[in-house]
């Protein structure tokens, strides 16, 4: 599964694009706003049929977990959900759930946008004290990106190190790669799921054509299977009624609509979703983050100098062209990237509010905002790098071992 925010680049024909050129396009492979505009998330929610994450739910989370809600919740980064309130109801009754997220290991270099869902998932794991399974879809990348099996397995292990560096608790986390784990009960569920989805349906959802190889067509059940607890007999045996919560980016919604459709027929709870908006590229909302352009994103391997450079040179600014105009009119906060990034990563609500008012009114200049952003991101990347340095191959083996997790709910 590609739990990637931002434009995921999976080259596949999409029937929808041919019909709806004027509207925005959001699919697992293609994200495009209306002509020259931004993504309209309200329209998206209506179209997909998911629900807004409103303040009452956020307060409820804070109450249930006994700690302040995560930055991403407070700032509306994770803004939509399906059945999250049901999960919270069950949690209140004492019924736990487990988390499921994943990554398509297509490249070694991770940028901050890739880390966003993992940072949020770590928060959920700590706040609710629930176990987590992380799927590394090396087979998907092998098929779609045409990598060799060995290369995709190697990338999966490398990405696992960065994921572990986000701070997951080994006694509550199971990371697995498809090439290693598919089989046994997992495969049984895959077959059960596959029997419930017709070819036409999968073509409709994912846009396969007669030219696509059969590997692609039979992949969706692989991504759907972890939503069901019986896929992990070493973890959840006997707990068929355990619910699943999936934090992901909103462009993955079509995948899980299919899974939710299948679940009742197999006798499981529908997996709940909590969805995030897209992480903007450095050049602005309209830009696309792409692996070929290293200046479109901040990578976790960037040095402090690189970060400073990238922000100063490439971050799209909403400030006016001259100081006088800026003081007069203020900045355009809607398109300003540094303020948006600060919205993701600056912990202190008051400080962010202060920056927004000062910058928006023109009293603060772009340089100061960029400087503050550089500090925040440098600290983040530095912390990540230190944690990454502490991850050994043995640690990856430990995380990926098929083992029971006692106390995963305590």
């Amino acid at each position: 599964m590609a739990a990637e925010t931002g434009a995921a680049g999976r080259p596949a024909e999409n029937m929808e694009t041919k019909n709806e050129q004027e509207e925005q396009i959001v699919t697992p492979w293609d994200v495009a706003a209306e002509k020259g505009g931004k993504i309209d998330y309200d329209k998206l929610i209506d179209k997909f049929g998911c629900q807004r994450l409103d303040h009452s739910l956020i307060d409820r989370v804070a109450r249930l977990t006994g700690r302040p809600p995560h930055v991403f919740l407070r700032r509306g980064v994770f803004f939509a959900h399906r059945d999250f309130s049901d999960v919270l109801d069950a949690y209140e009754r004492g019924e736990k759930f487990y988390l499921y997220t994943g990554r398509g290991p297509s490249s070694e270099a991770l940028h901050l946008g890739h880390l966003v869902p993992f940072m949020f998932t770590k928060y959920l794991q700590d706040a609710f004290k629930v176990p987590l399974v992380i799927q590394l879809t090396d087979d998907e990348k092998c098929m779609w990106k045409n990598l060799t099996v060995e290369e995709s397995q190697r990338l999966a292990r490398e990405n696992a190190k960065d994921i572990i560096a986000c701070g997951f608790d080994v006694s509550r986390t199971f990371i697995f790669s498809d090439f290693d784990y598919v089989g046994g009960s997992f495969y049984k569920n895959m077959v059960k799921i596959a029997k419930c989805v017709t070819y036409n349906k999968v073509v409709g959802i994912f846009g396969f054509s007669g030219e696509d190889h059969i590997g692609k067509v039979s992949f969706p059940p692989v991504q759907a299977a972890p939503s069901f607890p019986s896929s992990f007999p070493h973890l959840f045996s006997g707990k068929d009624s355990l619910r699943c919560l999936i934090p992901c980016a909103i462009d993955q919604d079509p995948y899980f609509r299919m899974t939710r459709d299948v679940a009742p027929r197999l006798g499981y709870h529908k997996p709940a979703l909590i969805e995030s908006s897209f992480f903007p590229a450095l050049q602005g909302e309209t830009g696309k983050m792409s692996a070929s352009d290293p200046n479109s994103a901040i990578y976790v391997t960037d040095s402090a100098k690189d970060i400073k450079n990238k922000i100063n040179r490439y971050a799209f600014s909403g400030g006016q062209d001259s100081v006088e105009n800026h003081r007069k009119f203020g900045a355009n906060l809607e398109v300003d990237i540094p303020v948006k990034y600060l919205g993701f990563f600056l912990e202190d609500d008051n400080e962010l509010e202060h920056i927004r008012t000062e910058y928006g009114s023109g009293r603060m200049l772009t340089g100061e905002v960029k400087k503050r952003l550089t500090e925040v991101l440098t600290e983040l990347v530095e912390r990540h790098r230190r944690a990454r340095a502490a991850v050994t191959d043995e640690m990856v083996d430990a995380f990926m071992a098929v083992r029971p997790l006692p106390n995963m709910f305590s």
Binding site: D126, G167, V170, R383, E394
Partner: protein, 423 residues
């Protein structure tokens, strides 16, 4: 014959300098060094050659006209400095001002001199040469007038076989000392060297000075060029003589006094950055910790945290805690006792909350102790303790997770390699 400080002399509570330092045997010697070298200008090409303050000038047949011509006060290794007033009980030890004056005077006269530090003797030239002979180290010896620079030495021994050496005596910010003997022709870039040692960026010495106990904590970095020459000239403990020996024999001597010679390519300029740690960092002396930093008020809480967590968290704690401490809280002893419930240690978050609770308690209690400033500091206490919870809390939780993961991994590895009991 080694120079040795009886520890009893060093009840230095009376000394102003020592008030904030843990008493150390090396304190005086390093203080001595520090005073000597405070204004030492490091200039590789014109460095005075092999003139240690430890070595006594030898018999001088000629008046040292050469010295006045080539040397300036700046080039001499020691300074006449006045120390702050010290109690009379230790005045006898601290005869530095008179020592300085005496050595300076003697270097320009003909009296043989021995260096006194703290009332004990150091090695003399004859003793060193005798030592070398004991160790069966072959060397050729040449006497000449006192020389202070490489050029001066070259005048006398340059026509003979053997490479000339020059010496850099360096001190870093943390008052650690390095002697860097190099071939006279080697260009040493000090900025690069300090980077390679992992320091920031900053004598007339001889490698043989390390024989003295006072130089115990001085790091020696030898130019690897010495190894390739058949023999090199060094001064023994006096600068009116040069002895030639080869690098192998020098090693023999250094090993005999318990110093491992470290040969370094002084001209290399490897990039030192985040990915490449300083390649010479292992050569930085680690014991010499005469730190003149004022006591940080929360050393006690830092100490407590040390009980629970690994050593590399210290810089994090220091960085977070330092700016916020009120300067007039006094340092207290470390409170005892770690909490020993297995639940605390299994759950990193509870573990960290425990630490924070104790830190907060200490901060509040220390601040409230001082009655006079209580009312102003009540508010400060709350702010400080809130900051601790927020910033420190985040950092410590991250570190605790890494710690837990590593422990689990080690257990896991042991488990999979576990061999079942053979019946």
């Amino acid at each position: 014959m080694f120079f040795f400080f009886p520890k009893s002399i060093f009840s230095l509570s009376a000394l102003p300098y020592a008030a904030s330092l843990k008493s150390q045997p090396l304190f005086l010697s390093l203080l001595y060094l520090k005073i000597c070298l405070t204004k030492f200008v490091i200039n590789t090409s014109r460095l005075p050659h092999s003139k240690s303050f430890l070595q006594p000038p030898h018999h001088n047949p000629q008046p040292p006209a050469a010295i006045t011509a080539t040397s300036s006060p700046r080039r001499l290794c020691f300074r006449h400095r006045r120390l702050p007033a010290v109690p009379s009980s230790v005045a006898t030890l601290l005869s530095f001002p008179t020592d300085f004056g005496r050595i300076m005077r003697n270097s320009l006269s003909e009296k043989p001199n021995r260096c006194f530090i703290g009332g004990e003797m150091t090695f003399t030239n004859e003793q060193l040469l005798a030592r070398l002979q004991e160790l069966q180290i072959g060397f050729s010896q040449y006497e000449h007038p006192v020389v202070l620079t490489v050029e001066a030495q070259a005048k006398y021994v340059g026509n003979m076989k053997g490479a000339l050496s020059k010496n850099l005596f360096l001190k870093d910010k943390k008052h650690r000392y390095y002697i860097v003997p190099a071939l006279a022709g080697t260009k040493v870039d000090l900025k690069v060297l300090s980077q390679r040692l992992g320091l920031g960026k900053g004598g007339c010495v001889t490698p043989f000075a390390l024989v003295n106990e006072t130089a115990r904590h001085v790091s020696l970095l030898l130019d690897k060029g010495f190894k390739s020459k058949e023999c090199c000239f060094f001064h023994p403990l006096s600068n009116d003589m040069s002895i030639a020996l080869n690098a192998h024999d020098l090693d023999k001597f250094l090993n005999s006094i318990g110093k491992t010679p470290a040969y370094v390519d002084l001209e290399a300029t490897p990039t030192v950055g985040n990915d490449q740690p300083p390649d010479l960092a292992s050569l930085v002396p680690s014991d010499a910790s005469v730190s003149a930093d004022p006591p940080i008020t929360l050393e006690s809480s830092k100490g407590l945290e040390k009980n629970h967590t690994s050593a590399d968290e210290q810089p994090v704690i220091g960085a977070g805690a330092k700016p916020e401490k009120p300067s007039n809280a006094s340092t207290k002893e470390k409170p005892s006792g770690a909490v020993n419930t297995s639940i605390t240690y299994a759950d990193p978050n509870k573990f960290v909350d425990e630490i924070l609770e104790k830190t907060r308690a200490i901060v509040l209690s220390e601040i409230k102790e001082d009655e006079n400033i209580e009312k102003y500091l009540e508010q400060l206490a709350t702010i400080v303790s809130n900051n601790i919870s927020k910033q420190l809390g985040m950092e410590l939780k991250n570190l605790a997770i890494i710690f837990k993961n590593m422990s689990y991994t080690e257990g896991f590895k042991a488990g999979i390699h576990h061999q079942p009991k053979r019946m």
